[in-house]
């Protein structure tokens, strides 16, 4: 239910609705789409990537001197969790030995383990939370795959590379699009229930930036459907795949030739640092939404803290496109309990309109993601001050969903958006009758660790797949291409890394690169008390946190991690 203080603004929305419905039915754009100049202006002034302080030069490591997203640069320049001197014994006598170590039990990680097993190679998945507690579980919309007769993989290629402003790595886009049909079949054989037409052909829909209908789906729960299938398959091979939950990796281990040789894990249950010796290693740690870049709420899961970037960077891997962040235009702002929750783009596709506090249209509802987000931020900024404020200190605009039934007929919304409806029903808000309050939400890590089409990095024996990798999407990922990404590259990483493991010979294990990193921090005169990877964000109130910090020595399990907790900068809804 909406509280009393929002009633006036809600009334304004209702007052203007009849007029706006007429507009929507007229066939004309309900608001003039921006021209190139206007787009440039709103992006430059209001998109979070371009606001002052959004980027800064990183002072150490392989990307030294490049402009990166500030919060990422902060993480890269932070201190390690481990004291290398104290690791010696465990490097000589590792706690675990495996052929293939997979860091991260999301979609990419599970796929890697399954393909390695198919290739006869044993693996170990070390993951932060439970297996499947991952962004993969949460995707709703769909996956792109050129499966219909009117479409082709090369068309998909053109759409993806155009969407990425022609900056994507062509080799990666080729395998992304050419492997896609086989991914659909492979998943189906593992038991994914796809949405199909009566004749058995795949049901396909449009997504932002597609020139052919190629979004395949599993109702509005594609993520959960694929993730649960992959997890179940992983658990069907206990002899081949060893799963360690609540044991996130915190540093990579190299050997004396500079090849990747495993990782140091940190048990969240017992606070032990555990070493894994592995002939090859895959980073599949996903994205970074929980860094709350620029203070934004996020759609991402609890463990999306960009750990893979930090570990790989310290070991010498090169990052790509880490200066751009994808904000989804429509994240929930109210109720506070689901702040950041993703409201699918399809709502606007079906006729939902963004409105300011007076119930007025201020932007064309279907501008590209970055433009739409920037326009909403502008509306809420002090320059316009047309946002709706909530008691929790957030600002947003309305997304008028009741129009959808008025346009498409009664019952349409409930039928097409069951997940959306359920989420709001829980809080007594019927989106068929009431609008939603929204604001852009931090959604996707466009860049990541640079890879080639075999998922290899510049460090021998180190592979990266999924959202943690960079290059596939350039600086702008299209809807449906990241679900495809973790499927395609998760499979590939498993295949190539397990092949490598068959012949790899490891030298002496070492974490000397961590020492080198510390020295570099000191040499550059960097003053930081941050410790990374972050592992989990902290939502403990500031005053409680300060009292927790007063501790000295004899740190009880579970709580000493608080030392390393990063308090994201103050929320800057008014940028």
């Amino acid at each position: 239910m909406y509280p009393e203080y929002l009633a006036e603004s809600l009334k304004a929305v209702e007052r203007t609705r009849a007029e706006r419905l007429k507009l929507a039915l007229s066939g004309q754009p309900v608001f003039p789409p921006m021209n190139a100049e206007q787009r440039k202006d709103v992006l430059g002034k209001y998109h979070p990537d371009f606001t002052p302080g959004a980027k800064r030069r990183v002072r150490i490591g392989p990307n030294r001197g490049e402009e990166l997203t500030t919060e990422v640069a902060d993480m890269l320049e932070a201190r390690s969790m481990i004291e290398p001197k104290l690791m010696d014994i465990h490097l000589r006598e590792p706690d675990y030995e495996t052929d293939l170590l997979i860091i991260g039990g999301g979609g990419a990680g599970c796929w890697a383990a399954i393909t390695a097993a198919r290739n006869g190679v044993k693996s170990m998945i070390a993951t932060k939370l439970r297996m499947g507690d991952a962004n993969t579980m949460m995707s709703e919309g769909g996956m792109q795959a050129a499966v219909s007769r009117t479409d082709s993989p090369t068309r998909h290629y053109l759409d993806a590379i155009g969407g990425g402003h022609f900056e994507n790595d062509p080799e990666l886009v080729r395998v992304l699009t050419e492997d896609a049909p086989d991914v659909v079949r492979d998943l189906e054989n593992l038991g994914v229930v796809w949405d199909k037409m009566d004749d058995g052909s795949m049901q396909v829909l449009h997504g932002g930036g597609t020139s052919r209908k190629r979004m395949v789906s599993c109702r509005d729960l594609i993520g959960a459907t694929i993730m649960r299938t992959l997890m179940d398959e992983v658990k069907n091979h206990p002899d081949m795949i060893n799963v360690r939950e609540f044991e996130p990796a915190v540093e990579l281990i190299l050997d004396d030739k500079g090849h990747c040789a495993g990782a140091v894990l940190y048990s969240l249950d017992t606070e032990q640092f555990l070493t894994v010796k592995a002939k090859s290693t895959i980073i599949a740690t996903g994205g970074f939404g929980r860094l709350h870049i620029r203070g934004f709420a996020t759609t991402n899961h609890y463990g999306a803290t960009g750990d893979g970037l930090v570990m790989a960077y310290r070991a010498g891997a090169h990052l790509k496109f880490m200066d751009s962040v994808q904000y989804h235009p429509t994240g929930a702002v109210f109720p506070e309990q689901i702040a950041g929750f993703l409201i699918t783009e399809k709502i606007r596709g079906a006729g939902g309109q963004p409105l300011n506090k007076h119930g007025e249209l201020f932007v064309f509802p279907r501008e590209p993601r970055d433009i739409e987000s920037a326009a909403i931020i502008r509306e809420c900024s002090p320059d316009r001050n047309m946002g709706v404020e909530t008691y929790a200190g957030r600002t947003g605009v309305w997304l008028d969903s009741p129009l959808i039934d008025m346009i498409h007929g009664e019952g349409y919304t409930r039928h097409q958006f069951p997940g959306m409806c359920r989420q709001f029903d829980r809080f007594g808000i019927d989106i068929v009758k009431r609008p939603m309050l929204i604001y852009p939400s931090l959604h996707y890590q466009n860049g990541g660790v640079g890879i080639n089409e075999r998922c290899e990095t510049n460090i021998p024996g180190l592979y990266v797949a999924g959202e943690a990798s960079g290059g596939v999407h350039g600086r702008n990922r299209l809807m449906g291409n990241s679900v495809l990404d973790y499927n395609v590259f998760g499979r590939r990483a498993g295949q190539f890394a397990s092949e490598y493991a068959k012949t790899a010979k490891l030298g002496k294990l070492s974490v000397a690169h961590v020492n080198a990193h510390c020295t570099e921090i000191d040499d550059e005169g960097i003053d930081t008390d941050l410790v990374s990877p972050l592992i989990l964000p902290s939502y403990t109130p500031e005053d409680v946190k300060i009292q927790q910090m007063a501790r000295l020595g004899n740190i009880p399990a579970r709580h000493s991690m608080l030392r390393s907790r990063f308090t994201p900068g103050e929320r800057k809804t008014h940028l």
């Binding site: 939370l129 439970r130 499947g132 507690d133 579980m137 007769r149 993989p153 053109l158 759409d159 155009g162 022609f166 062509p170 049909p181 086989d182 079949r185 189906e188 054989n189 593992l190 038991g191 994914v192 229930v193 796809w194 058995g200 052909s201 795949m202 020139s211 729960l221 649960r228 299938t229 179940d232 398959e233 206990p238 969240l268 249950d269 709350h292 709420a297 759609t299 899961h301 609890y302 109720p335 309990q337 689901i338 702040a339 950041g340 008691y391 929790a392 200190g393 069951p418 989420q423 829980r426 809080f427 989990l536 939502y539 403990t540 109130p541 500031e542 927790q548 579970r558 907790r565 929320r571």
Partner: protein, 241 residues
């Protein structure tokens, strides 16, 4: 109880606004938290760092199963911590994990019928149709109905009815017959996807084309194309309505 407080932002910042506070008992200990908090936020507001008991934080993953009681109510309630609001006097605890044994099987060796159910999860035939599982389900699923469908070997119905299951395991914890409902759901969904689907001829054709390297020439051309030509091709491409 109305007090002046500064509720916590996700970003760690507190702001001065008025909010009603309520008493909740987390693992038996009283804490004062804002009434507009979910159970998950209340636990964090109280100063805990959740390690087991939070995953997606948005109602997809089932990591946050919680049991609670309310004052003057004998019932033991179940809910997801990330989407259930606190209430005054609520006494709650999170379930860190649900002990159970998932059956290990080879999907390729199974058939989509009651024989598979009998072989893989024979325990479900202990179901006494008490309906406790359906009452416990935070997703509001007809859990008993899908277990009954499984007993009949109606794999498609199980797949359909259990589609939105988040595998929180709360039904399994409450079931007097000790059934692990969500695992039966996963098995049946996989059987349905693997064996009960209609084949897509289009997909077969496309896979054949890829295997025959039918797109190699086009890819080679696109991948070596000058950026300005590629850009023109992109902006001029026709768009399916």
């Amino acid at each position: 109880m109305e007090t002046e407080i500064k509720p916590r932002e996700e970003g760690g910042k507190r702001q001065r606004v008025r909010a009603n506070m309520v008493n909740v008992f987390i693992n038996g200990k009283r804490h004062v938290v804002p009434e507009h908090a979910t159970i998950m936020r209340a636990i964090e507001y109280a100063g805990h760092q959740i390690i087991r008991g939070a995953g997606c934080r948005e109602g997809f993953c089932g990591a946050c199963g919680t049991i609670y009681r309310l004052p003057g109510d004998y019932k033991l309630h179940t809910g997801l911590a990330c989407t259930t609001m606190v209430k005054d006097g609520m006494s709650l605890t999170q379930i860190p994990s649900v002990p159970m044994e998932k059956a290990v099987y080879d999907l390729e060796k199974l058939t989509p019928d009651v024989n598979t159910i009998l072989k893989v999860y024979p325990v479900i035939f202990r179901c006494v149709a008490c309906g406790t599982c359906s009452k416990a389900c935070p997703q509001g699923l007809p859990v008993m109905d899908y277990i009954q469908a499984a007993m009949r070997g109606d794999i498609a119905a199980v797949a359909d009815l259990s589609f939105d299951c988040v595998a929180c395991g709360l039904c399994a914890l409450r079931c007097p017959a000790e059934i692990i409902q969500h695992e039966v759901g996963v098995l049946c969904k996989r059987l349905a996807g693997r064996y009960l689907r209609k084949e897509s001829k289009e997909l077969d054709e496309r896979l054949q084309q890829v295997r025959e390297h039918r797109f190699d020439a086009e890819y080679a051309e696109l991948m070596t194309m000058d950026k300005s030509v590629l850009s023109k091709l992109y902006y001029d491409r026709d768009i399916e309505p």
